[in-house]
Amino acid sequence: MTDDDARDAHLLEDGHIDRLLAKYHPVILGRCIARTNVRDGEDVAQDVEFRLFREFQAGKRYPGIPYRVVVHNVIRWTLAEHFQGRATDVPLPEGWEHGDGGLGFELELVDRLWIADLVEQLPPVERDACTLVYIQGMSPAQAAAELDTTPNNVHQRLFHARRRLEEMIDGDG
């Protein structure tokens, strides 16, 4: 293990997965794009990073294995899945398991993109409030600061926007 590997191990031990993934982000993104193309590479890189994140959240640790080795293996497996279009049969090390991506995300994403499209059609003040709160995830208070207005005003804009979105959704149905 190099000094760099030892630093990585400490970061992992201390729970600094965001710092570790930020460190390896250029490696992951660069390799995934180099092995595919920009669009696919960005998708695969994101899969790699969230796969590593899920493994970390699930309590996976890799005693004796430098984290850079883990990163390059996960890149390899994820690229294999990408090219084969199915789950890879490359065996994971002992104690590892494939991340469960689930299928519920598909509906959630379609919903979010559909809502984003509808929000675009709102009047500007309502659209801006909706974009900040419903799409970017700000609290009404944060959105109020961003829009130079009061939280109460943001709540009112969201109320009117919801009414308008309901009418638009009913119209689409």
Binding site: V27, G30, V38
Partner: protein, 196 residues
């Protein structure tokens, strides 16, 4: 091949300096040598030590892992309002329609605009504004488990250009559905949506 060698040297030097070089731009510049350049970069990244991340990089990754758009997190770190960024962007891109530029920027920042077709001039301008490779930060919306929305953007066909004025949805006649034909793209649309 000389170009490939030069582009690789530039990429490697920028990487070692921790600058997060734009590999897509390098490959585009390589033309017919793109495959060779990609092989060199892949081999280099397999062995080169990962540079220590900057605090900005950590904050952006922290945000992304939490489901927040990375560019939004970066802008908040810089304590900049959307209007300030859009104003600077308008100047750099020589755009007059601030309202429509603001909406495009917000969609890009919020992850509801496919970054793929966005013109290199926009990325260059954003790099000037945020002093980092914004192209490597912007990603479409994701779920908490990180699945990419790219496929859904592509499945839905090309996005429609933004209307120059907001449509008055509620004033439209109930018996007459709004027109579905996309308006023709102008220069601002092409900056964010490409030519297709």
């Amino acid at each position: 091949m000389a170009d490939v060698d030069r582009l690789f040297d530039e990429f490697a030097a920028a990487y070692v300096r921790g600058e997060q070089p734009d590999i897509g731009a390098s490959l585009a510049l390589a033309g017919d040598g793109a495959d060779e350049l990609a092989r060199l970069i892949d081999a280099f990244l397999r062995v080169a030590p990962a540079p220590e991340p900057r605090d900005d990089d950590v904050a952006v990754m922290h945000a992304r892992l939490g489901g927040e758009p990375g560019l939004l997190a970066l802008r908040k770190r810089r304590a900049r309002k959307v209007d300030e960024v859009v104003s600077d962007l308008a100047e750099l891109l020589e755009v007059d329609d601030i309202a429509r530029l603001r909406r495009y920027y917000q969609r890009l920042e919020g992850g509801t605009l496919d970054p793929g077709p966005v013109d290199q001039r926009v990325w260059d301008a954003l790099r000037d504004l945020f002093v980092t490779n914004v192209r490597a930060i912007v990603r479409p919306v994701t779920t908490p488990t990180g699945e990419s929305a790219m496929a859904y953007y592509r499945r839905g066909g090309p996005p429609r250009p933004l209307e120059k004025r907001s449509p008055m949805i509620l004033s439209a006649s109930a018996s007459e559905p709004p027109a579905r034909d996309a308006p023709e793209r102008d220069e601002l649309d092409r900056l964010f949506l490409g030519d297709d």
